[in-house]
């Protein structure tokens, strides 16, 4: 097996999923996605590539190409992610497929080029609408590959924006992944110029009631989709006295910590959402059935924590502990030390 960086893995997954158009703007830590795609497009005339003026142009280029029947996508990070929310919310409003890989970096503003989990709220709800988009949180390189493919399937299956919410560690890390053959994802179809009756697509309405009806219908549809796509993972929760809540790269460290703490005989488990939107509240509640305490661990000051608390609302006898390190990595040993302290 070949050694690949996360950014290379994402490009390989996109091509395996049938992606044929990329629009982007350089920003660390996702720049190599743009450069690797440009290398692929230089070899293959069937692949569209455009380095745009900014992330907004990239996102609207993605929408234009998707309307024309291409499996188009983009990648960005940090302040570029903020600009990208403009096209993402338009894709949401018109139910246009949209795939974006976001490699979270430190914030606010330029912050660092390295790592954080601070873009969770923006990815989930960063628009002036109801946040009807799907967000996947990979925690290792194999998931980066698998979830990128899944994102292309979901975007065209449900006509929704799908965000793969990674980070700089995942983008820049080198490792091996199982490259799958014969992958089938939902095919793209042209929304315009498709031999059917001409259509007029808009997202502007004159009356409150008119938009209200559209949103009511879309939200109903979204609640059906959420039942099918919700994904999460639990580890050793069956008899756990303490359940760790973590996602993405931090969930990788938390898994290691749970393994080590269990070998010490401590009854510790892990709940880890794979879809950050929708967040599986039912499974989160099931995971804490035997728990007295939960420990929320994230590389941000409680963005994920708020989601967890909302999901567990009503379970009044559970004690909530927090390990927040905004824009810094979290090692298994730190989590273990905190758990030992809580359980002592």
């Amino acid at each position: 097996m070949e050694l690949l960086t996360g950014n290379e893995i994402i490009v390989k997954a996109a091509i395996a999923a049938g992606a044929d158009a990329f629009f982007g703007y350089p920003i660390t830590p996702t720049t190599e996605i743009l450069t690797h795609w440009s290398e692929e497009a230089a070899k293959n005339k069937g692949l569209i590539f455009l380095q745009t003026e900014d992330e907004i142009a990239a996102g609207f280029g993605v929408i234009g190409a998707a309307l024309g029947g291409k499996k188009s996508w983009t990648a960005t990070a940090g302040v570029g992610h903020l600009l990208m929310q403009d096209p993402i919310v338009m894709a949401e409003s018109m139910r246009i497929p949209f795939v974006a890989y976001i490699g979270q970096r430190g914030g606010p503003s330029t912050g660092t080029v390295i790592y954080s989990q601070q873009e969770l709220s923006v990815a989930r709800d960063g628009g002036n609408g109801e946040g009807m988009r799907l967000v996947l949180g990979p925690s290792n390189l194999q998931e980066l590959y698998d979830f990128t493919i899944l994102a292309f399937d979901w975007a065209w299956r449900y006509s929704l924006p799908v965000i793969i919410l990674g980070d700089g560690y995942l983008s820049k890390m080198t490792g091996q992944v199982e490259i799958k053959k014969g992958i089938r994802t939902m095919p793209a179809k042209p929304y315009l110029q498709n031999d059917r009756k001409p259509i007029n697509i808009r997202n502007c309405y004159s009356l409150e009631e008119e938009l209200g009806q559209v949103l009511h219908r879309e939200l109903k549809d979204f609640s059906e989709i959420r039942k099918v796509v919700e994904k999460s993972e639990t580890q050793s929760c069956v008899d756990a006295e303490l359940v760790i809540f973590a996602w993405g790269s931090v969930a990788g460290a938390a898994k290691e910590a749970v393994g080590n703490l269990r070998s010490e005989g401590k009854k510790v488990g892990l709940f880890r959402p794979i879809t950050l939107k929708p967040f599986s509240e039912t499974r989160a509640k099931q995971a804490v059935r035997t728990a007295k305490t939960i420990l929320i661990v994230e590389s941000a000051q409680g963005k994920f924590g708020r989601l967890v608390k909302e999901a567990l609302f009503g379970l009044a006898d559970i004690k909530i502990e927090e390990l927040y390190k905004p824009a810094e990595g979290i090692m298994a040993a730190e989590i273990e030390a905190r758990v030992r302290e809580i359980l002592s």
Binding site: T52, G61, M94, N200, I201, R202
Partner: protein
């Protein structure tokens, strides 16, 4: 009595349109419709609108149409053209969308010589929001954000002239007016031909906005004439 002539590609069920009486958008769109009819281009054309008054054209034609905002229509059209190289792509916008908030997308498209056509309606104001000054507002023009002409002290932006400094040799860049519909149609036809030949085409249309200019019919026509002293009408680049 003859029925008034109207283009076949307009969507009858969406008429009357939402434009104010005397608005130059209606004149521009109607003439675009005649050109689409004459060239038999409607089925293979995608019409993309921006925000502001231009978005009121979202269902003006019975052709594939998509509506955007904030000058992003150019960026969307650039993506659309790459996916649909055989279709005619028209990006339709106002002077605020094109020359203020979306100018860098226009510059990107013209520098790349993206084979699409842009129609920019210049009425010197942000009309949908109530007539604030725009990059095209002339010096001393009275708008709701330049009361009595105060604050309107910048040189007005010469869009076609700016783009002509950046464009490919075979691109087409022109400025016409809604009071010369023969020229308007001719320029639009030339823009279609330019796109077909694989190059970028841009037509600015000097237009009326009696609602926000607060002008009666005569003063509306007079103000458009006055604008021609600032904005040179004619082909700016190409033949």
């Amino acid at each position: 009595m003859n029925e008034p002539r109207f283009p076949k590609c307009v969507k009858v069920s969406s008429k009357p349109s939402n434009f104010c009486p005397g608005c130059g958008h209606s004149i521009t769109l109607k003439n675009l419709g005649f050109v689409l009819d004459e060239l038999k281009a409607a089925p293979e054309t995608v019409f993309a609108t921006d925000i502001g008054c231009s978005l009121l054209a979202w269902d003006y034609f019975d052709i594939d149409t998509v509506q955007t905002h904030h000058g992003r229509v150019t960026a969307l059209a650039s993506g659309l053209k790459r996916a649909l190289p055989k279709s005619n792509i028209i990006a339709y916008m106002g002077d605020g969308g094109g020359y203020a908030i979306g100018l860098q997308y226009l510059i990107g498209a013209v520098r790349r010589d993206d084979p699409m056509m842009v129609i920019l309606v210049n009425n010197t104001v942000y009309a949908m929001t109530g007539g604030q000054m725009a990059p095209t507002t002339i010096k001393g023009e009275n708008t709701t954000s330049s009361p009595g002409g105060i604050f309107a002290d910048e040189e007005p932006l010469q869009g076609p002239e700016l783009l002509a400094t950046l464009c490919h040799e075979d691109a087409y860049i022109a400025r016409t007016t809604v009071d010369n519909q023969v020229q308007l149609q001719n320029y639009l036809k030339k823009a279609f031909a330019t796109q077909k030949s694989g190059h970028f085409a841009f037509v600015e249309v000097l237009s009326y906005c009696p609602t926000n200019w607060k002008t009666d019919a005569k003063r509306t026509i007079d103000f458009l004439d006055h604008l021609k002293q600032t904005y040179r009408v004619g082909v700016i680049h190409g033949e």
